[in-house]
Symmetry: C2
Subunit: 149 residues, 2 copies
């Protein structure tokens, strides 16, 4: 499982995974691309009256487009690396990335979780703590934390 987000580093983590963990000789390689969207609640909590329904819908649309664009970028990487022998599954999660990722590892019985070290944006990271730190501690499988050189 590779946890991807908008960052360059998560795309680098995906390339690392394809180059280092995917065996050329096995035909049953399966790779789950996991992208986590923020929950709608982020836009309409106790202070929710600030945003109109239209604004919430616009943000929802933006976050869906962001997910699509990340998955598109991942596709380019698969093509560039000639990763043709991989069975790819795209999963979109909703919620706090660190919890969603750990739960997905467990539910989908991932063998290995690969992710960038600076995942989910500098500001969110400062506020919420590093997602990779959390996953390296709590995910139920080996975790690869990839740092872009």
């Amino acid at each position: 499982m590779v946890a991807v987000d908008e960052s360059e580093e998560s795309m680098y983590a995906l390339s690392w995974c394809i180059s280092n963990l995917i065996s050329d000789t096995k035909s049953n390689n399966k790779l789950v691309l996991l992208y986590v969207k923020p929950p709608p609640a982020v836009f309409s909590d106790a202070a929710g009256y600030i945003f109109s329904t239209e604004a919430i819908a616009a943000m929802e649309k933006y976050s869906t487009e962001l997910a699509d664009s990340v998955m598109e970028r991942a596709k380019v990487i698969f093509n560039n690396l000639n990763a043709t022998n991989i069975n790819i599954e795209r999963v979109i999660g909703i919620g706090d990335p660190k919890n969603v990722i750990c739960k997905a590892v467990h539910k989908l019985e991932a063998d290995t979780l690969v992710m960038g070290s600076h995942g989910y944006g500098l500001i969110k990271r400062a506020l919420l703590g590093s997602v990779s730190d959390h996953c390296a501690k709590y995910a139920k499988c080996p975790v690869v934390v990839v740092r872009q050189p």
Copy 2:
């Protein structure tokens, strides 16, 4: 590079590395086994007068024997997994594991660092913080944190 210690988990991390990161088809696989011994200073700091020279020598001997025994256990794993196409280098570091490991990654230009999540003993970990947490944050290469199932 695989950071090994006395724990079962670090031996599991070594097995994981051989099974998942070492390519059968490449002939130039190189694996550095890194074991970190405590510095002599641990036995003879400001309160050093507690220990006689003989006691320090005995502890030094114990720590060297521990390093040897860990390397021996690693050898058994290589044999069990038929890891014959690997060029193995054994490195013994001295000092605080988390700093020694990060420095060794840098100096030996490791492609990937593999380690157990509970490295270096529960008590030391409680006192010094998790070595794998630190390395996942500061090592200059992708870090695999392996948890024993």
